[in-house]
Symmetry: C2
Subunit: 454 residues, 2 copies
């Protein structure tokens, strides 16, 4: 069985729906529960309210929790809110603590408080602890359902403990070892545990070189670390090395996806990640801040051009190459920007050294500038039969490409230096800044050499 395609889900659903309409609970449950929770969630998301209410009454809170864990994050709030509160509380109770916390973080505080009151005490306490952590840190993505063993246990005892804890733990493939002060002192993989002899002590078989992250660590850095070290889970500790929770690889894959979407959107100048489920108004709201900011920068460019109105009146054809020069500057700046932002976020920049990267970009700008400059001189000489105009456009293009390439790399580095997320120096900003510089160079040159043009 592969990932279900849309149409397969539809067919599946038609079968299940029949059972639903005939009020055959058992048949519905048999068919529906056989699916992977991801497919259950995709089918569930597409139902109308009345069908959803029937499903709530046919599934146990535990079964519903599996579905809700896989539902699209934009929709989950609405589903939890429409459920009978007692049922919703039970569903949240049955979910992984970290997923439940993600949902509660989206709800308003009164609702959260009332859910926490109805919930059983153990779950509500676990959730309350996690609710305090700042978004996008280790604390906010970790789970508290993990298996912990002590240094003095034997391998056999550890296996017995593991068998008991396995059903409720988020992962059992790494087992963390604590000392009598609850401090993290080691780790053993299930792989090593099953190879070890039953009577050995855990402290003799565990690895003491356990990699952990502090609870306030940024989620992007954790993702990078997990990818580099090929871990399936990472323990989270406080400043005294007490084990607080674990982060599993499935949560990290979501983080990687989220961060990639985020960088991508910023490069395109969208302030917040947009999805197809946004309405036109919410899309416009996310795009307008940049557009309006750029409008004002555009007015600045316009005022530079008006200062050269005399030159334009004399040689109107100068205007024809404004979009070409400004466009090329913008594009080459975006290219350099993208490379710089990536190399900052992967840590490559630090390794190479900023000066070296800027010098590399300078040489790149010289090469691209030279090539494009020569081509445009030839094109303008041939097409417009104006060699001097070609020279002016060509030299402007060379200077522009050089400066735009350097600034595309330099601006994000400076932002990083001052602890501003370099991805904020998005494409449109660099583009418009380079428009401005390029126009200045072009008309400056044109005015200086006006005598050759007229």
């Amino acid at each position: 069985m592969e990932h279900l395609e849309q149409h397969e889900r539809l067919e599946m659903w038609e079968k299940i729906q029949k059972a639903l309409f005939d009020e055959q609970i058992d048949k519905f449950r048999a068919e529906f529960l056989e699916l992977h929770p991801y497919d259950q969630a995709k089918i569930f998301e597409e139902q109308d309210e009345d069908i959803r209410f029937i499903i709530y009454s046919y599934l146990s809170p535990e079964e519903m929790a599996d579905v809700i864990e896989q539902v699209d994050e934009d929709l989950v709030e609405a589903f939890i809110t429409e459920m009978v509160p007692a049922f919703a509380a039970k569903v949240l109770e049955q979910m992984s603590t970290d997923d439940a916390v993600d949902i509660l973080n989206e709800l308003d505080k009164n609702k959260v408080a009332s859910f926490l009151t109805i919930m059983d005490k153990k779950s509500s306490e676990e959730i309350k602890e996690l609710l305090h952590y700042e978004e996008k840190t280790a604390g906010s993505i970790m789970t508290t359902e993990f298996v912990v063993i002590h240094t003095q246990m034997t391998v056999k005892e550890a296996m017995r403990h593991l068998r008991k804890e396995a059903p409720s733990a988020e992962t059992i493939y790494y087992i963390y070892v604590v000392d009598s002060f609850k401090k993290l002192v080691g780790v053993i993989s299930l792989r090593d545990l099953i190879i070890a002899e039953g009577e050995w002590l855990i402290q003799d078989v565990m690895s003491e070189r356990v990699v952990s992250v502090p609870v306030g660590e940024d989620q992007e850095d954790i993702a990078q670390m997990m990818r580099d070290y090929d871990f399936l889970a990472l323990p989270v500790v406080d400043f005294q090395d007490h084990l607080l929770g674990i982060i599993t690889v499935d949560d990290i894959m979501d983080v990687m996806d989220e961060e990639a979407s985020d960088d991508y959107s910023k490069l395109a100048g969208i302030s917040d990640v947009e999805s197809s489920s946004d309405t036109a108004i919410s899309s416009a709201k996310k795009r307008l801040p940049w557009l309006i900011a750029l409008l004002f920068l555009g007015m600045l460019t316009a005022s530079i051009i008006t200062r050269f109105e005399a030159a334009l009146e004399e040689v109107a054809i100068l205007a024809a190459f404004i979009p070409l020069i400004a466009g090329m500057a913008g594009n080459t700046g975006t290219q350099a920007l993208a490379v710089a932002v990536r190399s900052i976020s992967t840590g490559e920049l630090e390794k190479k050294g900023k000066i070296k990267v800027i010098w590399r970009e300078t040489k790149t700008g010289l090469i691209t500038g030279f090539c494009c400059g020569i081509i445009i001189i030839l094109l303008i000489s041939l097409v417009y039969n104006q060699f001097f105009l070609g020279i002016i456009v060509g030299i402007s293009l060379m200077a522009t490409l050089l400066i735009a390439t350097i600034s595309g790399a330099f601006v994000p580095m400076m932002m990083d230096r001052f602890n501003i997320d370099p991805a904020v120096a998005s494409g449109p900003f660099i583009t418009t800044l380079n428009d401005l510089i390029s126009i200045f160079i072009y008309f400056g040159l044109a005015t200086a050499f006006m005598s050759f043009l007229v």
Copy 2:
């Protein structure tokens, strides 16, 4: 211990280096091998050739294989090539098959053939099989080192088999079950296996709903699937459901990173992913194709403007707003493009329906166009005291933003329809296309209403 920072690695290295210079093999090995292979690799990468040769002689091929698996992919080819061939062949032999194949794919064919001849027969056969698969498909990222059990084994027998295979298998957390025809019929997680009773038959405890991917499946789709279903491994099968290999989550994290870099670079108009380790010439080569293509599009825009030379000679100030209008069109088009490309790659678009998304973008374009149009009319009226010019720029801007928004969404959808990777419709292309359209609208309007301007 956390991810080692650059300076920690340096300190670590100074200690290790001393052992190296004093020719204390044992001390060097003790210190170096205590590190995580990732840190070993990072330290190794920074050494000069002569030091690297000492390290080759101090480590066994198996230990060296762990280091090489973690080395940056851009550097690994050089390291393998500089080693004594017999040693390099042994290192490749000891690596995970999938990683060894990745390296061999980069080497020239003669070298590959000679390595395969020196290698032991079993490894070379496994590698040869994988070398045939196309890049970026399931076949190219899978490994053939996995644990397989039969339906008729008992749980106890399976555990015994697992203990024996564990050291060489890439993962043992999912164990795949085949029937007597070697067809994949089930899967059992190690978690479920350790809870099961020893004398039960595997066929009674395994899950028959095993999700697999065909060997030719695209790696991006596999990553999406693994993320959705939260799997740690996925089996790869041929068209008759024979189990060929498995893909593990650590390889998928690399794929996700690669695909994200790829989309990001394309949005910025870089034909191939660039890294800071590229030379200026190789960077320029990756950027020039787009720049030169855009240069020709820019010439087209120039030729449109020259057709309106008469209008420009009469009202030179018209030229001042060219960069503003073209820039806004380019930026808004890139925003719409980024949203469309993301929603195509996540499959969201298919769910929503194209018509609906285009209609949503149309409304978004109307809203942003209206807001920006009104602002520019006010600005030009106030700053330049020219109400009619403001009206013409404002209306052009409205029309331009509307068209640019729609085209930003429409172009990638069309490309997807004709099976072209929509990410190729990168920012610079949409930007320059929209430059062209916007200039046409602006001068068209200006010429039509010239009488109000002069």
